[in-house]
Symmetry: C2
Subunit: 251 residues, 2 copies
């Protein structure tokens, strides 16, 4: 974008959000970035550009070999964000992180890593925790995004059985994506947290961006670490107090 | 944006959101568009691109002659949205609509009009209402955005005194913009609604996008028409069920 000579664009670094996976989670992420930004006046908030494309093919379906790759549509989204001026990209979809390396290889911009940010938060906020419950999509499970990140840091990931995943988590996530039966979805996530608690998890990761929207009952069972909020915190840490001249300029 | 040959972009028309005025209101608007979109599956949601620039100069200060024009920064935002692919622009800031004609003269894209959409909703949902309370910024009052729109449709706008505006509404709006003292802000908006009710308003327009976020007490006093939600409804009406080939192509 060539801005008009009369306005050079915002002073602060511009956060790009590759969203729509799903749309409610994207709105929730925006709200969490705003809530976490330390401000004294409106203009202290961060400039943010969001590309929310709900037509991006389903990440889990692709990982299960049941649908097309989301990478072309995600790459298109990154290009649009960069065209609008984004300096640093955040993706408020855990499952999409299975494609992060591929996305990095196709584009030239800095990405934040939600899975890393979330497990770093678990370690920081719950230093005594060893057994970490994970609630995520079937795609995130299959790609072992959290399992691998946990093991790299000496944590033991505790996951549901395939049957409990299919009975409790998959339908709850789908409900949020279409905005239906949210109370029933919250009950299912609460039941899933109870199963993880019985298996001695001391904390549970809401590792799908739909889950924090229906985690009310789960928080009564175990402390919940919200991956969306962890990514929002990473955005603030990376971008607040910076300006574009301090931006990342290559890779 | 030239999309990759492997992905032509979303099928549906792309909604551009010129936001950051303020950031909480922008997130609220996104959530309201998502909530209002009729969907059976995630991909039925609308593609949305949001440019949220909190550095856009304060609209009210400009209208009061106390600060620079926001138009250059708003024009920059529209250009970025169009660069990212936006077909139709919505601006979730009532006061910014004082500059809509100027913005239209400087750009080549379709804009939705929040003030029109809101008064149309008042007329549709409250056909017996004649005295319409207006809660808005000092800038919106000075520019007579709602007063003029009301009179054009035979409605009598009921506004606060300057003293009550300064005592109740201005500080409440400012509180939302920085995320502080929200309970006190909600009390002030409730008191403002009470004053309008005593002056025989039969409905009140939350005519600043910060106000719906603190309208809990006001809704106990009078029916509240939420301008943010009216703009979300206009987005759905204009864009849902369309595809880009049906997009607006000139002005």
């Amino acid at each position: 974008v060539t801005s008009g000579a009369d306005y050079p664009g915002p002073v602060k670094r511009i956060v790009g959000v590759l969203g729509g996976m799903g749309p409610s989670a994207t709105a929730d992420f925006m709200a969490k970035v705003v809530a976490r930004t330390p401000v004294e006046t409106e203009s202290d908030h961060l400039p943010i550009v969001v590309w929310s494309n709900p037509e991006i093919p389903d990440r889990t379906q692709a990982l299960l070999g049941l649908g097309p790759s989301p990478v072309p549509a995600m790459t298109d989204g990154v290009r649009r964000l960069v065209a609008a001026g984004a300096d640093t990209i955040a993706i408020p979809c855990n499952t999409a992180h299975a494609f992060l390396d591929e996305l990095r290889s196709k584009t030239q911009v800095e990405f934040l890593d939600m899975i890393q940010a979330t497990i770093a938060t678990v370690r920081h906020d719950y230093p005594g925790a060893r057994r970490v419950g994970i609630l995520s999509t079937s795609g995130t499970r299959l790609a072992q995004l959290y399992a691998r990140q946990c093991r790299q840091h000496g944590l033991l990931p505790i996951e549901l059985s395939d049957a409990d995943q299919a009975r409790l988590v998959d339908p709850a996530i789908k409900a949020v994506k279409v905005g239906a039966d949210l109370e029933d979805a919250a009950t299912r996530i609460g039941q899933a947290a109870l199963i993880l608690a019985r298996r001695d998890a001391s904390v549970v990761v809401a590792g799908c961006t739909e889950i924090p929207l229906i985690a009310q009952q789960a928080t009564g069972v175990l402390p919940v670490v919200d991956a969306t909020d962890c990514l929002a915190a990473a955005v603030i840490e990376t971008c607040a107090g910076t300006d574009r001249s301090a931006g990342w300029t290559g890779r």
